[in-house]
Structures are given as structure tokens and as C-alpha cells.
């Protein structure tokens, strides 16, 4: 080794270590910077709008929309007092839309599909939850069995978890009722103190119950085995005017439907604000008093764009 080479090698080693250290620090810093804003990259990409049934009959003030991972899309065509069952595949509606209009269903709003494809609809006029077979045949009203006192209840909304248990937002007795798939009472959770008005309920992939207080703009959660609700957000009025509905995706992100603001607010599982999509308007991609939204595992988003009398389809882009 020529004289001085050893010193140069040592210097090179030191320099390499320093550079490696700097790179490591930079990488860690970048990671720290990126993590909190990872949600900011979530966006809705407009795909299409659904305006009619197969016969060309226009939707009228549609307030409910339910979807699953098997290409099924159920729309509560509220103004026409009917449901429409669409097949949505490859970004488009396939022919063969089924009109479901049982006599027992007068004014359908929120709708859900369970794991067996059965359709549940909340009838606003009757304030009852109607059960239909996957083909749309009337199977009866949901009649809770074995309710503890008080036995009176008035549903404002409902949801179904992945085990097909049914959750009812009972605004009369100020509680959330959990029923088995056949309607037997399982448990209930009292509403938290000091609330404004609860408008909607959903259950995320982990079984966490989420409810939204439209008046105070607060989302509450109750983990699967917990005994009460706790807020996961502060008052969100900075971002949302009147959050009337909510849902969640398979990663636990929460989507608030801002009815008066004509937009969708995305929250992280911990309630952190991740973004706001769309705004009030009439053109495609814009929303006018949206009432319900659903998202499937493919990231397809369906929004009941009520005052625009259509359903809009978006794709979640990350």
C-alpha cells in the first residue's frame, strides 16, 4: 500500500459513514413528513353517472345506494318509490336492471346489502326496515325480538356488519341496538351525553360502530366490545356543513356525506381529516344534497346524488 493510502482510506470511510448517516436522517425525516399527509393523496376520480333504469325511466331524488363486491348495486329511487338493482361491471352499468317495487315499500331511503345478498331498506314514511330477498321479494319487516325496556324504538338509520348483524340507530330511546341477522336483540349502546342529533350509523371492517352527530359535526365510535361511545373528532364544522351520512372502507377510513355542503369528507380511522372531495353543483362530478355513499373493495364509490336525481360513480385514487 503506497504511503498515505491508509489515511485516505480512513478519510473515505469517515466520509462514507457521514454520507450514509445524512441519507438515513433525510430518509427518516421524509418518512415522518410523508406519514401524516399520506391521506392527502386520496382522491375521487369521476367515472360515470346513472340516470335511468333499463327502460329509460329517470331516477327521481334517489336517496339510497348500496353496493357489494359482486358487482351488485342497489339504488333507492326514492321519488319513484322503488329500488333498482343494477349490475355494475368494468366501470359501466350492464343491461338487465331489475326494478323492485313491493307494495310494502312506500318511501325507500337508506339501503344495505348483507353478505347473502339480501336487501334491507329503510322506509322513511313507515319508519320501518324492510327485508327483501336477493331477487327483491318481500320477506317482511325487521321486527326486533327481545328488546329490553324501553321497548319502543324509532329507527333513524341502520347498518349491517360483515357477520350480518343489524345495527339500528334508535332516536326514540337514544341508543344503538344490535340485532342478530334474524332480528334477535344482542346488545345496545346508549347515545353519548350532550349530543345534537344522530343521523347515521355504520360499522367498519373491525366491527367498530361509528355514528355521526349532524348538528354538532362530531363522529363517535364504539369498538366491538366497548360499552359506550367516545368522540373521535372535534367539531368538524370547519370542514363540513351538515354530515348526514357516513360509511367506511376496508382500511377503516371514514367517509362523511356532507348533505348541505354537497361533498364527501374523508377521515382517517382515528378521525383525522384526510380531505374533501367534490362540491355543490349540478354538473357531473358535482353533488347536490347527496344522501348516501357506498364503497366496495375495488374502490368503486357510488353516491346517491339526491337533488340531482342521479347516482354518481367515482373511483378511489390513492
Amino acid at each position: 500500500m503506497p504511503p498515505g493510502t491508509e489515511k485516505i482510506t480512513e478519510m473515505t470511510k469517515g466520509l462514507t459513514n457521514k454520507i450514509c448517516g445524512m441519507i438515513a436522517v433525510t430518509l427518516v425525516s421524509v418518512l415522518f413528513l410523508l406519514v401524516p399527509f399520506s391521506g392527502a393523496a386520496i382522491k375521487f376520480k369521476y367515472i360515470t353517472s346513472i340516470y335511468t333504469d333499463d327502460q329509460g325511466v329517470p331516477l327521481k331524488e334517489a336517496e339510497g345506494v348500496a353496493c357489494n363486491n359482486q358487482t351488485h348495486l342497489i339504488v333507492a329511487d326514492t321519488g319513484n318509490g322503488r329500488l333498482l338493482k343494477y349490475i355494475f361491471k368494468d366501470g359501466t352499468v350492464e343491461t338487465g336492471t331489475v326494478e323492485i317495487k313491493p307494495d310494502q315499500l312506500l318511501y325507500p331511503i337508506k339501503t344495505e346489502i348483507n353478505s347473502r345478498g339480501e336487501i334491507y331498506i329503510f322506509d322513511r314514511k313507515e319508519r320501518r326496515i324492510v327485508r327483501l330477498s336477493p331477487a327483491g321479494e318481500f320477506r317482511g319487516y325487521l321486527q326486533p325480538v327481545g328488546l329490553p325496556s324501553p321497548t319502543g324504538y324509532v329507527p333513524r338509520s341502520f347498518t349491517i356488519d360483515k357477520e350480518d348483524n343489524i345495527y339500528i340507530l334508535d332516536i326514540l330511546s337514544e341508543r344503538v341496538l344490535t340485532l342478530s341477522p334474524d332480528g334477535r336483540y344482542l346488545r345496545h349502546l346508549e347515545f353519548p351525553q350532550g349530543y345534537g342529533f344522530f343521523s347515521d350509523i355504520t360499522v367498519d371492517y373491525a366491527g367498530t360502530v361509528l355514528i355521526v352527530d349532524s348538528v354538532k359535526g362530531i363522529v363517535y365510535r364504539a369498538a366491538k366490545l366497548s360499552t359506550g361511545f367516545s368522540p373521535i373528532t372535534k367539531n368538524l364544522k370547519e370542514y363540513v356543513r351538515f354530515p348526514a351520512s357516513l360509511t367506511s372502507d376496508n382500511r377503516g377510513r371514514i367517509y362523511l356525506v356532507d348533505k348541505n355542503g354537497g361533498s364527501i369528507i374523508i377521515l382517517g380511522q382515528d378521525g383525522s381529516f384526510l380531505g374533501r372531495q367534490s362540491s355543490m353543483g349540478w354538473k357531473e362530478g358535482w353533488l347536490n344534497y347527496p344522501a348516501q355513499m357506498c364503497i366496495n373493495d375495488k374502490g368503486e364509490i357510488f353516491v346517491a346524488d339526491t337533488n340531482n336525481s342521479r347516482v354518481q360513480v367515482f373511483e378511489l385514487v390513492e
Binding site: 340516470y51 321519488g79 318511501y107 333513524r156 332516536i171 345534537g196 342529533f197 343521523s199 353543483g281 337533488n307
Partner: protein
């Protein structure tokens, strides 16, 4: 190195010299006798008159003008040592306790001179006027109300007037600056153990009830100062129409729950309401009718708990905020009258409707707006059931295609856009400049 230490020491000394307030003693400026105030009066002769008044600010009385004024220069008007909104708090901190339940707006804002003369007056506490007269200078509505009302609460005209019940600055006990919570405050004068109290209240155990549930605290046109708008059963003293009998252990409990109870008398109205497609949700929750109505008596028509805009705003604060913003909009000359006046029920049915947004009519535009507006004279723009909205083939062009009926903040003519050009190019993109 020693140089740096010396420099550092100098900086430190400088810091302490600047940071420590000067400890002025009486002799610091070698002031002449009377320099703190008496000397001022040589020029400010009008203060001789003020000093003769019955009540003089203690500093002025002691001749210490420098308690509030700087003798030479100041950044504040009248050579004051601090801004007028902060000056008084230098000595009177306790006026606004931290644990207050309510506070007088003028006090919070530091506008003490709204009520007090700064130097002296003939009224106690150097007030500008005495008794309730002072309060009515600002609270004109109350003054007008009391002039026209048949029965006044006697305490308003006795002794300290308004201050018989209210604190002037703040209250740690109650809302509305009340000295105590109701009914404790009322019970200071009204003896609840008297026979007349019991018979007047039909033997019901209302000793600890909220008196303001029926009685207007200032006065009303009804005997017993029951609020001007009273439930017929209250004025006729038929409490047992809704409540259990006074002899019952739970006498104040109602015979039925909320809406079911109201339906006993208001059957047609309740049945019609519940027969509609869309019942206003609060009607069917635990509180029911009482979300918006008071069961006993109020000052508002239809026993509402407040003005319509206040009652609706309790839940729809976002819309009312927009309405208020629109009212304050300088370009609001075309703002809808019901929006201006906060009359939500001009366009929305408060109980139920068959239509979205609780509109009373199926058409969300022409028919509804046409009740007030002669839309045919509006313009030559095509409008009506046969005109498809180019932005959405399921919509027809109606009034709300271009106007947002609850107000649009700073936009003109209730347009959802900042100007007509932005609105028109939505449907007529070929006209885009």
C-alpha cells in the same frame, strides 16, 4: 476569550437594566406638590364642577390624575395610560370573575363608560343615569315592551329596578346576569309556603320548578305575568290535562310521552303529519314536539321556543349562518324577503312534507317561488317542466337552477356563483369569454 466574557456581561447587564421597570419613588422626578393632580386643575377648571358632584372617582378625589393619565405624552386618547377598553381593569379586575356563567357585553368589551362617567356624577357608582333608565338606553326593546305591557313585574319599578334581579357586570350563578338561578331568585320575594302560592298552582309541587316555564319575568298582558302566548290548558289552569293528578307521587310527570301526549288533543294535526312521506326527524325522537315548542307559555307565536330562525338554527346552524351572512351582504338587494326576515317556514313545512327539503309543494321551483314572485315577468329565460337542464338530464330548469333559496353569502341575487357570467356559462359554455 476574556473579551467575549466582558461583552456577555455587558449584554446581561443591559438586559437587566432594560427589563427591570424603573422603581420610581416620590422624589425621582422631584415633583412639585400637587403635580399628580392638583396642578392639573389649574388649567382644567371644569373639574371643579365635577368635584362638586355627589360621587367622584376616588383617584380624582385624591387629586391623582396620574392614576389614569400621563402628564406629557401618550399613545392613547385623552393622554390615558392605557386604551380605554383596558384602563379600568388595571384596578377593577374583580368586575369580571373568571368563573362567570354570564357577563355583560359592555363589560367584556371594556366599554365601562357606556354606563359609568369616568370622573364623577350625581349617581351612585358614578353611573351616567340612575336605576333602570340607564339600562333602557341600550335595551330599548325591553323598554318599549314594558311601556305597552298590561302587567309589569313589580320589582322592575321598585328599588334598584333591573338590578333587583340582574347583576350589572357578570354572574357566577346564572345566565342572563341573574343574581341567582331561577327559582332560587324568585323565591327571595315570592313565598312558596303561602297558601295562595299552592292554590294558584293548582296544588302542583312547583316549588322547585322553572318559573320562566310559564311566567314572563318582566311582564306580560296576562294575569300572573304568564307569557303572552300560553297553552290554552295553562291559562285555563287545566294542568291535569297533560300532567298526572297533583296528589300523585309523580305529579309533574306527564300522562304520556311527548308526541303521543300532544296527539291527545292535536290528533288531526299529528295524524296528518305522520301520514306524510317525510316527517321532520326531531318530531319522532325522544323530545318530539318539545324540540321546538314550549308546552306551557312563551313570547313567540305557536308556543315556539324562540324566533323561527333561532329554533331552526338550533340544528341547522350552517344554513342560518349562511342566511345571516347573506343579510349582511352589501349586494343583497334581491335577497328573498323570507330569508331576510328569517321566516324559514315560508318555504319549508316544519312538521312534515311529501317532498324533499320539506318543501310544501312537489315543484321545488316555479310553484313554490311563484307564491311570492311573478316569475313570468322574470325574464325570457326558458323555465318550467318542459325545459331540460343541460347540466343534468334528469332535472328541469326551475328557479333553484340559478338561485339558491337560503342565501349565498356574498353573491348577488342569491346566485350560487359570484356573478351572472359564471352562472350562465354553466349551461352556455359556448359563451365563455
Amino acid at each position: 476569550m476574556s473579551g467575549y466574557i466582558a461583552l456577555f456581561s455587558l449584554c446581561l447587564m443591559g438586559f437587566f437594566i432594560l427589563a427591570t421597570p424603573p422603581a420610581y419613588s416620590a422624589d425621582t422626578f422631584k415633583l412639585k406638590p400637587g403635580a399628580r393632580g392638583a396642578t392639573c386643575l389649574k388649567c382644567h377648571e371644569n373639574f371643579k364642577e365635577i368635584l362638586k358632584k355627589g360621587y367622584v372617582h376616588p383617584l380624582l378625589k385624591k387629586g391623582e390624575c396620574t392614576g389614569c393619565h400621563v402628564p406629557h405624552t401618550s399613545s392613547h386618547k385623552s393622554l390615558l395610560v392605557a386604551d380605554t377598553t383596558k384602563l379600568c381593569y388595571n384596578c377593577h379586575q374583580k368586575v369580571l370573575p373568571e368563573d362567570r356563567r354570564s357577563a355583560h357585553e359592555a363589560v367584556v368589551e371594556g366599554n365601562c363608560t357606556t354606563c359609568h362617567a369616568s370622573h364623577g356624577s350625581n349617581n351612585k357608582f358614578i353611573l351616567l343615569k340612575s336605576g333602570s333608565e340607564l339600562c333602557f338606553d341600550c335595551h330599548k326593546n325591553m323598554s318599549d315592551y314594558l311601556k305597552n305591557v298590561r302587567f309589569k313585574h313589580p320589582s322592575i319599578e321598585k328599588g334598584k329596578g333591573c338590578l333587583n334581579c340582574h347583576n350589572p357586570h357578570a354572574s357566577a350563578e346564572s345566565d342572563h346576569l341573574l343574581q341567582k338561578k331561577v327559582p332560587a331568585l324568585c323565591k327571595e320575594c315570592h313565598k312558596t309556603d303561602k297558601l295562595t302560592f299552592k292554590t294558584t298552582h293548582m296544588e302542583y309541587p312547583v316549588v322547585d320548578a322553572d318559573c320562566n316555564s310559564c311566567h314572563s319575568p318582566h311582564g306580560s298582558n296576562n294575569r300572573g305575568i304568564v307569557f303572552n302566548v300560553a297553552h290554552a290548558d295553562v291559562t285555563k289552569k287545566r294542568c291535569n290535562q297533560c300532567h298526572k293528578e297533583p296528589t300523585s307521587p309523580n305529579a309533574l310527570k306527564t300522562k304520556k310521552e311527548t308526541t303521543q301526549l300532544c296527539r291527545e288533543c292535536h290528533q288531526d294535526m299529528v295524524d296528518q303529519t305522520f301520514n306524510k312521506n317525510r316527517v321532520h326527524w326531531p318530531l319522532v325522537d325522544k323530545v318530539g314536539c318539545l324540540n321546538c315548542h314550549d308546552p306551557h307559555a312563551t313570547k313567540e307565536e305557536k308556543l315556539l321556543k324562540g324566533s323561527i330562525v333561532d329554533v331552526c338554527g338550533k340544528c341547522h346552524g350552517d344554513t342560518v349562518e349562511l342566511q345571516k351572512w347573506s343579510i349582511n351582504n352589501p349586494k343583497n338587494e334581491k335577497l328573498c324577503e323570507p330569508v331576510k326576515k328569517g321566516e324559514c317556514t315560508s318555504c319549508h313545512s316544519p312538521h312534515a312534507s311529501d317532498n324533499i327539503l320539506l318543501f310544501p309543494q312537489q315543484s321545488t321551483g316555479v310553484e313554490l317561488c311563484g307564491r311570492c314572485h311573478e316569475w313570468q315577468t322574470h325574464s325570457t329565460h326558458p323555465i318550467g317542466e318542459k325545459i331540460i337542464d343541460p347540466r343534468d338530464k334528469n332535472l328541469t330548469v326551475e328557479c333553484i337552477s340559478c338561485h339558491k333559496a337560503c342565501g349565498t353569502g356574498n353573491n348577488p341575487a342569491m346566485l350560487p356563483f359570484s356573478n351572472t357570467y359564471e352562472l350562465c356559462i354553466q349551461c352556455h359554455p359556448e359563451r365563455r369569454r
